[in-house]
């Protein structure tokens, strides 16, 4: 065997080993959470999802936390989606390559790397105190909105830019305006990519802990309006774990895991469906 060939084979072996061990770790983590969480949920029964926690040790269900988590996730994305998409359309289709635009892109990339607890601190100072929203789902959603916006903008921008030029050419040559072209050709073609970005953002919003603890609070109640505080599943898990209630924590962890898994599978399914239809 030549040296090059030996090198080639060992590189392949290393890559393979890394890939396999990544998968093994992933399966181990998921499997562990499932094994410790699911039977435990089963022993509590359906009421785990439908009742509020009881007593000082928070036994019973996590219904208020599920509501808080969903409320916060949906609200933050309802705010983030139109703004993020608008910004992405602007950046991809109208902005060109000016200094100012590059600065916007650069800051977006920078912001997406800022630790979430820093966002949390900002949310606490700005939304909770300065704007007097108090600990509330709204303050939490706005903070999470700021957190997910940069990534949402950048993934959507890339999805829009990936739409072949030939589609735009065809559309414009048929007498469509630029906006008609964007709305009826570019955006539908970019939709799977944009959707993936949205679902990843949802996963991030749903899984966020620190920023939400600082802004939506930790009161284990079912929020009736955006101005009420709440305790998300993640924050609940945080409290349970710090109080040493490991068994209770794994139940919550299993729920979190399944929801995030659900987000990702939905994204995959929607994309596959879209691809089948449009080639």
């Amino acid at each position: 065997m030549t040296r090059a060939r030996v090198f080639d084979l060992s590189a392949k072996a290393v890559a393979w080993a890394v890939a396999i061990s990544t998968m093994v770790f992933l399966i181990l983590i998921i499997g562990y959470v499932v094994i410790r969480g699911v039977p435990s949920i089963a022993s509590v029964g359906l009421e785990f999802f439908t009742t509020a926690p009881r007593g000082i040790k928070m036994q019973g269900g996590v219904y208020p936390m599920i509501v808080s988590s969903i409320y916060l996730t949906v609200l933050s994305l309802v705010i983030a989606f139109p703004i993020g998409l608008g910004a992405a359309i602007y950046l991809a289709e109208y902005a060109g390559r000016g200094r100012f635009v590059e600065l916007i892109r650069f800051s977006a990339d920078l912001l997406s790397g800022v630790p979430s607890i820093v966002f949390g601190l900002f949310g606490l100072a700005f939304f909770v105190y300065f704007l007097k929203m108090g600990y509330s789902v709204l303050a939490g959603a706005l903070t999470v909105f700021l957190m997910v916006l940069p990534t949402l903008v950048r993934t959507s921008e890339q999805a829009i830019k990936a739409v072949p030029r030939s589609y735009r050419e065809a559309s414009l040559a048929l007498g469509a305006s630029k906006w008609q072209t964007i709305r009826r050709v570019v955006l539908p073609s970019a939709a799977p990519g944009i959707l993936t970005g949205v679902i990843l953002a949802m996963g991030r919003a749903f899984g966020e802990t620190a920023a939400v603890l600082f802004t939506a609070g930790s009161v284990p109640q079912t929020p009736a309006s955006p101005l009420d505080g709440g305790r998300t599943l993640t924050v609940h898990l945080f409290y349970l774990a710090t109080q040493g209630q490991i068994e209770d924590s794994f139940r919550v962890a299993a729920v979190l895991l399944f929801v995030v898994l659900g987000f990702n599978l939905t994204a995959g399914w929607m994309m596959a469906r879209f691809r089948r239809r449009f080639g």
Binding site: P164, S166, Y167, E169, A170, S171, L172, A173, L174, G175, A176, S177, Q180, R184, V185, P188, S189, R277, F278, G279
Partner: protein, 257 residues
């Protein structure tokens, strides 16, 4: 309604670069005109002048002189959207939208204001029939256009263009990405369509130009950085058998380009 396209002393610039020099040319209605010439001589540029899409592919373009469609100067206060409705274009690579067959055809009529479903159905059927594609896709109207073969996709693009009743049909090397059979079908189609439209086709194939065009225009640029010029224009048969310019003869017989 097919219209005549007339270029009157046209100079065309990309920024400071003069791409076309004093073009004088009349393209007859209900005829197929072929543009031939070596790469970079400006065939596509001249074609794109007719639907004003050079402005889309380049930042700064400038045109001097006049381009007339049915005696109306399209570079003088014309509405671009209705101009492009009047002038259809078919590209080198088939570029159907990633939508269904039906939606591809109904797309432009919708943009231009057709709303009623029965009316759209009728346009879709008529356009697909006109493009000799109906029989092959009538049961696949709801499938993705991208599932069609390359040749079918190109005919779909032709159907998409004629769905808004253009007066002129521009084709920029429409068969260069297709196999010989698909090419032959497009050529047959072009012959049929010329009864209703003014057709301009850019081609690198002398045989194709000879087969399907009534008139041929030969363009040439004397080297990089020099503008393209129209060397010769006339009835195809005459241009190919008895060219009046030595340059045309050289190109046709394959001695350069």
């Amino acid at each position: 309604m097919a219209s005549e396209v007339k270029f009157e002393k046209v100079d065309f610039y990309y920024g400071a670069f003069k791409a076309i020099d004093s073009l004088q040319l009349t393209i007859l209605a209900r005829k197929v005109s072929a543009f031939i010439g070596p790469s970079g001589c400006g065939k596509s540029t001249v074609l794109r002048m007719v639907n004003r899409t050079n402005e889309l592919v380049a930042e700064r373009t400038r045109l001097e002189g006049r381009v007339l469609i049915a005696d109306e100067n399209i570079y003088d206060g014309v509405d671009l959207f209705s101009l492009r409705k009047k002038v259809g274009m078919v590209f080198q690579r088939p570029n159907p939208f990633p939508k269904t067959v039906y939606e591809n055809i109904a797309w432009a009529p919708r943009i231009h204001g057709v709303k009623r479903t029965d009316e759209l159905d009728e346009i879709v059927e008529k356009s697909l029939k006109r493009a000799a594609l109906w029989d092959q896709v009538k049961n696949k109207l709801k499938s993705s256009a991208l599932s069609l073969s390359g040749g079918q996709q190109q005919r779909l693009c032709i159907a998409r263009s004629i769905a808004v009743n253009p007066e002129v049909l521009l084709m920029d090397e429409p068969t260069s990405a297709l196999d010989p059979r698909a090419t032959a079908r497009i050529e047959d189609l072009v012959e049929e369509l010329k009864a209703d439209y003014t057709i301009v086709i850019v081609t690198h194939s002398m045989q194709q130009a000879a087969r399907i065009s009534d008139s041929t225009a030969f363009f040439l640029s004397e080297g990089a950085g020099r503008p393209g010029r129209l060397i010769e224009f006339g009835e195809t048969e005459r241009v190919f058998t008895n060219p009046s310019s030595r340059l045309t003869e050289k190109y046709i017989t394959g001695r350069f380009g």
